[in-house]
Symmetry: C2
Subunit: 230 residues, 2 copies
DNA sequence: TATTCAGAAAATACGGTGTATCGACATGAG
DNA sequence: CTCATGTCGATACACCGTATTTTCTGAATA
């Protein structure tokens, strides 16, 4: 019996903490979507029984909140923005990038209050960049309006992306096909404008779509924040 | 043994159809949120075994799709709009009203492709109202941008509404309170701009918030659809 | 009318979920 | 060395979506 064949001690439970739990949950969600995240699976990956997690987390919802806040850490820009418009634009694009890395984010964003430290830091940075540009009410509305656009646009983009992937077709082909269903619907002639849009609409890549819509919204906001001198 | 004490026949199973199933599911969701909708409960309300539903529905996801399309029936406006702006505005407000009646809609909107007949009809009406105002690509972007805003704004509004209800406090009080958590966070002094916003921000009612943001976005869209003559 | 048969409805079953409860056990204190 | 404490794991419960099997009923046939 040498050191080598002496059996390992029975794998003392690795010390656990929220960070490791959240990281594992995020990994699972990245791989298989939100519905692949179960407390049992998270625990299993950490060589622990399911109940072990309840020492660090009190409910599955809370785990989701922690996951969202963790990703907000990726959204927070590292360098201060040039001006308010840049700040909002960068935040929007970083949010989108995070959602592309973690598609499940689209399912949670806006669906629960985001009050974790990272989310608050993002909010703080955003508000700071707009401070003093107008009265507080206007500034808040500006942020909310842009946020609403960002959340909605990301949600749609991820949804389309999943649908495409589900059919294995390219974006354009998906729009035309999507099973026989959509085609049959359009063929009824009851949706002529839709049909024209689907068949004659230009295909544009998702990023410029997002950026263009964002620019429109930023323009709208600009009028209220920094009204052009008459 | 008279007619009166003859036992009822064993309650012949009421004939079932998708409409009744969907209506029941919507009722359940209206009462207890999406997570209160289970195939077993829907079936129970219809005096049927769970498996009975599978004759009319092939999966729970499909039931959700049917619910969403059913509500799109409430969104479709009954009279044709005056102009494109009115069309977009009415669609937005009707969508919001539907989400206030059926809060679970906020959880599903934008999260799945909406290809049911009612959703398509809504899309058709919208596109028809914008037909010819600009090249097709611009029109599509306009609709998408407004839709993104609407979905995001509704999502946030419903989320806040639920959070308020959970604490039983008024909106304003909620922002100040939300457990000790937010207050503690703000008290750290790491989020001065946020703190100012929370404590000094004007409270506005949700409807005008929504309407104002919407108007901003519509203004932005207007510039591209009907550019002001130079 | 009696019998078969097809189709629908029901019951049962399976593998999963979140979480409450409780028993074993390891560790530190007296 | 004994005992208390508190953590971990196993077990348990109620529920879920859905596959499979069984039962039943109403119509067609002999």
């Amino acid at each position: 019996m040498t050191v080598w064949d002496r059996p390992e001690p029975p794998a003392r439970p690795a010390p656990l903490d929220r960070e490791r739990i959240v990281a594992t949950a995020i990994a699972l969600a990245d791989e298989g979507g939100l519905e692949a995240v179960s407390l049992r699976k998270v625990a299993a990956r950490l060589d622990a029984g399911p109940m072990r997690l309840y020492g660090y987390i009190s409910t599955k919802e809370e785990l989701f909140d922690l996951m969202v806040d963790e990703v907000h850490g990726e959204i927070l820009p590292e360098e201060p923005p040039g001006d308010w418009r840049e700040a909002l634009r960068v935040r929007a694009h970083r949010t989108r990038q995070a959602a592309l890395r973690h598609e499940w984010l689209a399912d949670l964003l806006g669906g629960r209050p985001a009050l974790g430290p990272n989310a608050l830091a993002v909010g703080e940075a955003t508000l700071a960049a707009l401070d003093g540009l107008a009265d507080l009410g206007t500034v808040l509305r500006a942020v909310e309006t842009v946020s609403a656009y960002v959340i909605g646009a990301i949600r749609r983009e991820i949804t389309e992306l999943r649908a495409e992937r589900a059919t294995g077709l390219s974006e354009r082909e998906w729009q035309r096909a999507h099973g026989p269903h959509l085609r049959r619907m359009l063929a009824t002639g009851r949706y002529p404008a839709l049909a024209k849009a689907v068949y004659d609409g230009p295909d544009s890549d998702a990023e410029t779509s997002f950026a263009t819509g964002l620019d429109w919204v930023l323009d709208a906001v600009a009028v209220r924040l920094a009204p052009p001198r008459a």
